[in-house]
């Protein structure tokens, strides 16, 4: 697989974006636009998703078998591609969440040691 050369320019780490997408879809299937909005709003606009980078991530997750997709009608009655979490995807979400929390805890410990 070719390397993603634009990694450095992304505002978020690739793995984190994947995790957020999976989390968003726990509540039910959604299409790309909705997912982007949800992430922005839930994080209270702290996390600005360059909306374009969402799609490669969505496709990657689909290729890995953590999401499935189908075309359907959106709220505005437009055609949109919906993504749905698979059981394997749920398991992956649990794994990623644990890993994230462990990492956060570790960083927090390091920060606490530093003199204020």
């Amino acid at each position: 697989m070719a390397r993603n050369k634009n990694e450095a320019s992304q505002e978020m780490m690739q793995g984190t974006l994947d995790m957020l997408i999976l989390r968003t879809l726990v509540l039910g299937p959604a299409h790309g636009h909705t997912i982007a909005h949800v992430i922005e709003r839930s994080s209270e606009d702290v996390l600005q998703v360059e909306q374009g980078s969402l799609y490669p991530a969505l496709h990657r997750l689909e290729h890995r078998g953590w999401l499935t997709s189908y075309w359907g009608a959106s709220e505005n009655n437009r055609k949109a591609k919906y993504y749905k979490l698979t059981p394997a995807g749920r398991k992956q979400l649990a794994r990623e969440t644990n890993r994230w929390q462990a990492r956060v805890a570790a960083i927090a410990r390091v920060l606490c040691v530093e003199p204020e």
């Binding site: 697989m1 070719a2 993603n4 634009n6 299409h31 790309g32 636009h33 909705t34 982007a36 360059e50 909306q51 374009g52 980078s53 799609y55 490669p56 496709h59 990657r60 290729h63 959106s74 505005n76 437009r78 055609k79 949109a80 591609k81």
Partner: protein, 873 residues
């Protein structure tokens, strides 16, 4: 997983496009809801999204498997560039097709005839057995019936031992108004087929009870005869056919692929039924072939040594008979059948390999020329960081495409070539086995691959990825462009010329050898002489007076035909083969010490035979008219016979005693004739044909004009005398010699064709290279002319530039030929491998052709307008 997405890239991209559109629409809807204008809504949405093209690119990239992508892209690009230069592409593909096709065709022949095991059960255990004569002159002699009987009874090394004869023909009578014909036959012991491990396709094989003198006559027929003569009707089984006027019952039909012991055998009969019982007691009459299957665990050497011992015992028990062999010899059956073809076929295969190599060199040279135009582009790409391997891969792709197209065309060409080969060489053993099968196709694919690698690699050697600056500066006025390419093309050309010279010399030697063979003096006249074979069947002509009467009437009637100058009969004409010999004693000479043998070729001829063939009488004269039946007591000897056994003595009046017969008086000495065109004449003794002991042979007719026109009238005379009598091998003497030199003629013709092809390729290559050089040196030549060089000087300059690599190639080729021609030494008749005439002739030919090829570009160069030349950049 990855590959699936790779192939679905396009459709996934299309879907993503729709997805992005949909996303933007949703965002625009939201913006409109927030109260923006149509234009503003769209602008904000697009800003927020980012660059859709980059998104699609990213997905595309993720789906791409690098290697495949490059491959497909390279292929498409090369395909387009090749189509844009149709002339070059066509020529290159043709050249490759020629080389690959010829090599594949010859490989098919070599594989089918020489390498594939025989189509019998466990063929590596089958061996052919021979007798080794007491005087060591014949190490691989045919076997005598009595010796075979002893072998069969006493040997322990073989699970099966069978005997057979070859070269005999029966007259197959016509039924229902069909014409009689001669069919090639083999008498064999009943266990030949079990020994080989072959069963008939229809019916049954012989049993031991069939193979007896008292049994009913049975016969096995070939598939071809069954289809052709009996319409492929299975009801033919157990029906009678008439061979030599005797009734034989067909008990089986052999499979289509079975052609043992020689191609064209049509019937097999049981040997003990056909031959008289005394054969199995003869130890000195070497008439038969013996084939054996080794017992498991027994080696060929051990089994043969045992047979040698048995033979030695027989020899020692009959020391007075010098014609009894003293040992046995053996060869694997495959080698026995195809051994003679090994050298010529391998030589031809090597020649096609050369042709292919020359073709690849040519294509490589052409690729270098094409690469030259892209030199700057490649240098820039290399400077920008393009990997060397990437550039090389692109270069190789073109060569692969050309090779692939050439390979496919080559296979088609090979198929046609093989059909032609099989049709022309029906005389070759195992010719029926030649066909294209899977290993051959694999070979062709492998050849294609190798050719592509070779041509591509050679031409890429001139791409100097590291001399970027030099390449970019190349077309400046300070020095000529493309030096490395020019050097590479010159090198390729030298190699081409070298290989061509080797081929030319080989072909020249073969041609000279064939010419010598063809024009060898047989010792007899060959112009306007017609021959045909006929044999009187035993049943109808069992008495000698009957035979005599037939032949006398036949000759009288033939002589009365208009245009017939001479007509005669002989058991075998000059050039028709050995046909047999007999031992003899000279009555007037002292007796021979025990164990020494004297033998000479024997023939029975009608008295005007010598006149018909223009064979001169050195002493004496031909037979008297009274030499008939029991009165036949005269003999004529050949000149070499007289020299060897009589020296300076006058042989006329002396008597010869042949084994077991009364004395014959020598009445004449005639000039030598060759029994085979390639072999020197052997001592020969001629007996009167009208003794009636021989049932048939060759009818000889000499005419004053075109003799082929007499074929039909003579056949009609024969039909008048006996409607059932078949006549065969109606050939003029020229055709007889042509048949016996078919092998040499075929090999020489093919080799000459290959040599000429390579010469053409080399000449065209030379022309191309020199035009290329002139193109590269245009500005330099322009400068030279501008500062005062004469046209002639420029001509000489360019000519020498072209002739130098040709000359180097010539020298290498001559040196290489000295070694290479040793390979074909045994194929050469009368010509030495280091024949000065051929070497000099080829060198001369090459120089002439090279000069002609260089002339046009050199002339063009000398005619350059200096102003225009200097303007070219």
């Amino acid at each position: 997983m990855d590959l699936r997405h790779f192939f679905q890239r396009k459709s996934e991209d299309a879907e993503l496009k729709r997805e992005i559109e949909s996303h933007l629409q949703h965002e625009i809807d939201d913006n409109l809801a927030r109260g923006m204008s149509e234009q503003e809504a769209r602008r904000r949405a697009q800003l927020k999204f980012g660059n859709p093209v980059r998104v699609r690119e990213e997905l595309w990239q993720n789906n791409t498997v690098g290697f495949f992508d490059h491959l497909v892209r390279n292929l498409r690009y090369s395909w387009r560039t090749l189509l844009r230069a149709p002339g070059f592409t066509l020529v290159a593909v043709l050249v490759m097709a020629l080389g690959i096709g010829a090599t594949t065709a010859l490989f098919t022949v070599v594989r089918s005839v020489l390498l594939k095991p025989l189509p019998f059960k466990d063929p590596s255990r089958l061996i052919r057995l021979y007798e080794h004569s007491a005087d060591d002159k014949f190490a691989y002699n045919a076997s005598a019936g009595g010796v075979f009987a002893a072998w069969k009874k006493q040997s322990t090394g073989f699970s099966d031992l069978a005997i057979l004869s070859a070269g005999y023909e029966y007259g197959l009578s016509g039924t229902d108004g069909e014409l009689p014909e001669k069919v090639r036959a083999s008498e064999c012991s009943w266990d030949l087929f079990p020994t080989l491990g072959v069963a008939p396709a229809l019916g049954r094989s012989f049993t031991a009870s069939d193979d007896q003198a008292s049994a009913n006559a049975t016969v096995l027929v070939s598939w071809g005869l069954w289809k052709r003569r009996f319409g492929g009707d299975p009801a033919i089984l157990n029906q009678p056919i008439h061979l030599d006027e005797k009734s034989y019952t067909i008990i089986g039909v052999m499979p289509a692929w079975f052609a043992y012991p020689e191609p064209g055998v049509q019937v097999w009969t049981p040997i003990q039924h056909e031959e008289s019982p005394q054969r199995w007691q003869e130890f000195d009459n070497h008439m038969f072939r013996v084939v054996g299957r080794l017992k498991p665990g027994v080696t060929e050497t051990a089994a043969t040594a045992e047979l040698s011992l048995i033979t030695r015992n027989l020899h020692d028990q009959h020391l007075d008979n010098p014609f009894i062999s003293k040992a046995a010899n053996s060869r694997p059956l495959l080698e026995d059948i195809v051994g003679d073809y090994q050298t010529p076929l391998y030589v031809l295969l090597a020649a096609t390999g050369f042709l292919l190599l020359i073709g690849c060199l040519n294509v490589a040279s052409l690729l270098v020329a094409r690469g030259t135009a892209r030199r700057k582009e490649l240098a820039i790409r290399a400077a920008l960081g393009g990997s060397r391997w990437r550039l090389l891969a692109e270069h190789l792709t073109e060569s692969f495409l050309l090779s692939a197209a050439g390979g496919i065309a080559g296979l088609i060409f090979a198929n046609a070539a093989i059909r032609w080969f099989v049709a022309t060489r029906q005389d070759m053993n195992r010719v029926e086995a030649i066909r294209i099968d899977a290993p051959v196709v694999a070979f062709a694919v492998g050849l294609t691959f190798l050719s592509a690698l070779f041509a591509g690699f050679m031409s890429s050697l001139s791409i100097k990825g590291n001399h970027i600056l030099a390449s970019l500066q190349e077309s400046s006025r300070s020095h000529s462009a493309g030096q490395s390419q020019v050097r590479m093309r010159k090198l390729l050309l030298s190699l081409e010329v070298g290989l061509t010279v080797v081929l030319l010399i080989g072909a020249g030697l073969m041609l000279k050898s064939y010419e010598r063979l063809r024009t060898t003096n047989l010792g007899a006249i060959t112009k306007n002489i017609l021959t045909m074979h006929l044999d009187l069947p035993q049943t109808k002509y069992s008495q000698r007076p009957q035979r005599l009467s037939f032949f006398e009437t036949l000759l009288a009637r033939v002589r009365s035909l208009p245009g017939v100058q001479f007509a005669a009969f002989t058991t075998a004409a000059p050039g028709e083969g050995y046909d047999g010999d007999n031992g003899f004693l000279i009555q007037e000479h002292p007796p021979l010490p025990q164990g020494t043998m004297q033998f000479a070729i024997h023939r029975w001829v009608e008295s005007s035979y010598f006149e018909a063939f223009g064979i001169p009488f050195l002493r004496g004269q031909t037979f008297d008219q009274n030499q008939r039946l029991d009165n036949a007591s005269q003999v004529i000897i050949s000149s070499s016979f007289s020299r060897q056994y009589f020296g300076d003595e006058n042989p006329i009046g002396k008597h010869l005693l042949t084994l077991g017969e009364r004395p014959y008086q020598i009445v004449g000495v005639v000039g030598d004739t060759r029994y085979e065109i390639a072999r020197p004449a052997q001592p020969t003794m001629y007996f009167p044909f009208y003794s009636g002991t021989e049932p048939g042979g060759t009818l000889v007719i000499r005419s004053t004009q075109e003799v082929a026109a007499l074929a039909l009238p003579v056949q009609q005379i024969v039909a008048q005398l006996d409607r059932e009598l078949p006549v065969s091998d109606i050939l003029t003497m020229d055709q007889v010699i042509g048949k016996s030199t078919l092998d040499a003629s075929f090999n020489a013709t093919l080799l000459v064709a290959f040599a000429i092809l390579s010469l053409v390729l080399a000449a065209v290559g030379l022309f191309g290279v020199l035009s290329f050089i002139v193109g590269q040196r245009t500005s330099e030549i322009g400068i030279r002319i501008a500062i005062g060089a004469q046209r002639g000087q420029v001509l000489a300059l360019v000519l020498s530039d072209g002739l130098r690599p040709a000359g180097i190639g010539l020298l290498f080729g001559l040196a290489g030929s000295v070694a290479a021609t040793q390979m074909i030494r045994e194929l050469l008749y009368g010509a030495q491998p280091l024949d000065a005439g051929v070497f000099v002739g080829v060198a001369f030919l090459l120089l002439v052709v090279a000069t002609l090829a260089c002339l046009l570009p050199a002339w063009r160069a000398s005619r350059l307008d200096p102003i225009r030349a200097l303007r070219i950049e």
